[in-house]
């Protein structure tokens, strides 16, 4: 997942902005990390470079 994709994503639950915490990356590619919604604090994982925006 490219870092700049965060600009086009929003929280699927409340449409708030997301904050990205990177655990592992290669150059511009995020391999593992967590999105946290600034508004409702929901968390969404990035695994193997794939953001999973399904509410848990």
């Amino acid at each position: 997942m490219k870092k700049d994709i965060i600009n086009i994503l929003c929280c699927p639950t409340c449409k708030g902005d997301l904050e990205l915490k990177i655990k592992k990356d290669i150059k511009d590619d995020v391999i593992e990390g967590i999105f946290t919604c600034k508004k409702c604090k929901c968390k969404y994982d990035i695994e193997d470079g794939i953001p999973n925006l399904l509410p848990k």
């Binding site: 699927p12 794939i50 953001p51 999973n52």
Partner: protein, 203 residues
């Protein structure tokens, strides 16, 4: 590039490993996908455009759009497993496509063109799902390419008219669906489907 060449490339796009009947995960045949990509290209809806593949499955439309010169391609699907397959193939071939797992309803990013083969709503749990895809398309894109069962087209046309959109082109295909689920009784069933090019009211 010739259409046949694109078809040969698209034939290599991996299929679903464990397709889910509830999500109606059928791979769009490579010849039909290539034909649609070429049509979209002729309408100048691909080159240097931002293209989104809604309900991308293993990403056949995403790959086709990328290969034919789209600026940015995003494939989204609710099923994590098919996105993993798509992502793996993109990595192997070095195609720069963003794949993400998301419900189509929740996706808000604007784009130029949407290519989609939404579930036909053949399963009870999916009733009206094609409508949800079209609604979303109208919100985020200026042109949609969408595949529907020919027998539902009159309904879809009414829906599009009501939303203020225009169907500027349509084409019929036969879509062979092979026996992959237990509830299928025949080896291959041919479905008549229609491709619609829809201009939404956005520019």
């Amino acid at each position: 590039m010739k259409k046949k060449e694109l078809e040969i490339i698209l034939q290599k796009v991996p299929s679903f490993i464990n397709p889910s009947p509830n999500l109606e995960q059928y791979l769009t045949p490579a010849n039909i996908a290539a034909d649609i990509i070429f049509l979209a290209h002729q309408f100048e809806d691909i080159r240097n455009k931002n293209v989104i593949d809604l309900g991308c499955g293993t990403g056949i439309f995403s790959f086709g759009a990328y290969i034919t010169g789209a600026n940015k391609v995003i494939g989204i699907d609710i099923d994590k497993y098919c996105i993993e397959i798509a992502k793996k193939y993109a990595k192997k071939t070095d195609y720069k496509i963003s794949f993400l797992v998301s419900n189509v309803i929740d996706f808000e990013e604007k784009c130029d063109t949407i290519l989609m083969n939404p579930p036909f709503g053949a399963q009870k749990s999916n009733l009206n799902i094609d409508r949800i895809f079209i609604d979303k398309g109208f919100k985020i894109a200026s042109v949609l390419y969408s595949l529907h069962l020919t027998k539902t087209i009159s309904f879809i046309e009414k829906l599009i008219e009501k939303k203020g959109g225009n169907i500027t082109f349509s084409k019929k295909y036969t879509f062979p669906i092979r026996w992959i689920f237990d509830f299928h009784k025949k080896k291959v069933v041919n479905y008549d489907i229609t491709l619609l090019r829809i201009k939404t009211d956005k520019n």
